[in-house]
């Protein structure tokens, strides 16, 4: 082993330019791998974050419309016990109705939250553009579009009318901007008590909302939640079921990224094995003389396996550095109007380590062919062809 390694090392150091070129070849493969990987996962993360980052990913509802969930506090405890992957659990009451003031009447969806929990899902505090979140009953926060449409100002009083149920008046204490017109126009936010009182439902809620650690595991988790709750009056929904198109888009992206990475690796493997095959030819004289001196076939092939391994490691290290450098440049120079990167990169060190590992493995596997060739090389051919 040591003998083969030291010969391999010497072969590589004696042809520094060639060694560097091969290592660079591998490095470019690895850097593309690292960069594309970071870019795609950054893209996906930001897309997912934008779409479902600030919304409920798993939602427990009453099975029949119009029904509410009783003993929700107990159910929250049960749900929290299902898995540590469920990070946030938050109850909510929903009620549609009309928001009315002296000049206009707008259809809205009133959403009652326990803000200490719901804020973790929706990040209301970051989306407030004016005022504050509701602290006491009958305080409300409106979306900026609705706020403007109705030409309101803070501390104005508006009426919330729910047909067949009644009317209550709200004080506007804040304005939010979700960057989504649909929400900005319709959602009005208040606390749980306000809506529970209005609807006379006691301590019941419309739904229990959740966010999970791995958004793509939402479907499985939803199933687990459903079986754990074991309540036929409840249904469990998840974002994946609701956003099939987004998901297939993301999957398509993942697959194309995987394809790119596979092709990059294939070209790296082909490149290395062909270059190493040439080095066997270049070194055939040396292998021949080593064999005449009695080196074993196994050691002769180990020389090239080690060459592959060393080149792989060298290429992987360089490649990771290039890839990170490229990513850094991308985030520094490809920036949008707001000063943020066009696509935020997602640097996953596990993924980088994997890419490096694959490159090393690929280089070693690529050297199997030349290693076999070296093992089979007969001294007599070398001497006769001198």
């Amino acid at each position: 082993m040591k003998l083969a390694f030291s010969i391999a090392k010497r072969f590589l150091t004696s042809g520094k330019t060639q060694t560097l070129m091969i290592a660079l070849g591998i490095a470019i493969g690895v850097s593309v791998q690292v960069f594309i990987g970071s870019l795609i996962s950054g893209l996906q993360n930001s897309l997912v974050d934008k779409t479902i980052g600030s919304s409920s990913q798993i939602t427990v509802k009453a099975a029949e419309t119009g029904n509410y969930i009783s003993d929700y506090a107990d159910k929250i405890i049960v749900i929290e016990g299902v898995s540590t992957d469920i990070e946030i659990v938050s109850p909510a009451v929903n009620q549609s109705g009309a928001l009315v003031n002296s000049e206009s009447s707008e259809p809205v969806l009133a959403r009652g939250f326990d803000f200490s929990r719901a804020n973790d899902i929706y990040q209301f505090d970051q989306k407030l553009v004016e005022g504050r979140l509701p602290v006491s009953n009958n305080e409300v926060v409106l979306g900026i579009d609705l706020y403007n449409t109705m030409a309101l100002s803070l501390n104005d009083t508006v009426e919330f009318q729910v047909p067949l149920v009644g009317t209550t008046s709200f004080t506007v204490v804040g304005v939010y901007d979700f960057n989504v017109k649909q929400i900005n126009q319709t959602w009005i936010l208040t606390n749980l008590d306000t809506l529970q009182d209005l609807l006379s439902i006691g301590d019941e809620v419309s739904q229990i909302e959740m966010q999970v650690k791995d958004v793509f595991a939402a479907e499985e988790l939803a199933l687990v939640v459903e079986t754990t709750l074991e309540d036929s009056n409840l249904t469990v929904d998840n974002w994946i079921a609701q956003n099939a198109e987004l998901l297939s888009g993301l999957q398509g992206q993942s697959i194309s990224s995987l394809m790119i990475q596979i092709f990059v690796m294939v070209s790296v493997v082909l490149g290395i094995s062909s270059v190493l095959a040439i080095t066997v030819l270049q070194k055939s004289k040396q292998i021949g003389i080593l064999k005449a001196m009695g080196i074993k076939d196994k050691d002769a092939s180990l020389v090239f396996l080690f060459e592959g391994l060393i080149l792989g490691i060298l290429g992987a290290i360089l490649g990771v550095l290039f890839g990170l450098g490229l990513s850094y440049m991308f985030t520094t120079f490809a920036i949008g109007a707001d000063g943020n990167p066009v696509v935020p990169l997602y640097i996953d060190f596990g993924f980088i380590a994997l890419s490096a590992g694959i490159a090393v493995a690929a280089a070693t596997i690529a050297s199997l062919i030349p290693a076999r060739k070296s093992s089979k090389l007969s001294v007599i051919e070398v001497i006769r062809n001198a």
Binding site: M293, I380, A386
Partner: protein
């Protein structure tokens, strides 16, 4: 004198399974005594190099047997042959075949490293001593590509001696050297022959080397044409 090398009824046919097989050696019977100094002469294409390669187990005869130290080699496995070569035979080739990536000293040490024994102070001292013997004390740390032809050939000689082999096989060891260097190399080989009792079998077309050998064997058309001992 015990026989250190013996060839019995050696035939060598190239392309045996083709339509035009060429036989290069015919029923060669030959044996060499321990610590003798032998030369093999013959025209190019006579089969003398093939004969030497078969003697050194680098090539296999089509039939017949090769005995090294009275041990039959034809049934030995590849690894056993490698060990046998490493321990018993030193090779010197015309184009010296040094490893250009290594220094003279490292080249000399290589046969020892191949045997995978640890390089002790004594071993290093021996390699240095051999380089002194061939007169290369000043260039021993030079890369072999940075040495002259004569220096490279001396390095190859020192290397062939590293594992104290009983036999040295040399194929035109002075083939591309000038006559003065040839004379020096020859004197060196003779000195080693006397000092270490090493058996030498040298292919040469240089009559000055051949006529000084203890025995001259001429190969002609794959047969022994002449075999005389001083």
């Amino acid at each position: 004198m015990p026989k250190i090398l013996e060839l019995k009824k050696i035939n060598k046919i190239y392309g045996e399974n083709t339509k035009v097989p060429t036989q290069v050696l015919f029923d060669i019977d030959l044996s060499f005594e321990e610590s003798s100094f032998n030369s093999i002469i013959g025209q190019s294409g006579s089969g003398k190099s093939t004969l030497l390669n078969i003697l050194g187990t680098l090539d296999k005869p089509s039939n017949g047997s090769v005995l090294i130290n009275q041990i039959e080699t034809s049934k030995m496995k590849k690894n056993q042959l490698s060990n046998l070569r490493n321990e018993t035979i030193g090779f010197i080739f015309q184009f010296h075949y040094l490893l250009p990536e290594f220094t003279a000293l490292e080249n000399v040490l290589m046969p020892y490293q191949i045997s995978k024994r640890p390089i002790t102070k004594e071993v290093l001292a021996r390699a240095n001593e051999l380089l002194d013997l061939v007169g290369l004390e000043k260039v021993k740390n030079n890369l072999s590509i940075n040495m002259s032809g004569g220096q490279q050939q001396r390095t190859a000689i020192a290397r062939s001696l590293m594992n104290q082999p009983k036999i040295i096989l040399a194929d035109e060891p002075t083939g591309n050297l000038d006559s003065d260097t040839t004379e020096q190399i020859y004197e060196l080989l003779r000195e080693i022959n006397k000092k270490y009792k090493t058996t030498f079998i040298i292919i040469t077309h240089d009559r000055h080397i051949a006529e000084k050998a203890d025995r001259i064997i001429e190969i002609k058309d794959g047969r022994i044409n002449l075999d005389i001992t001083k």
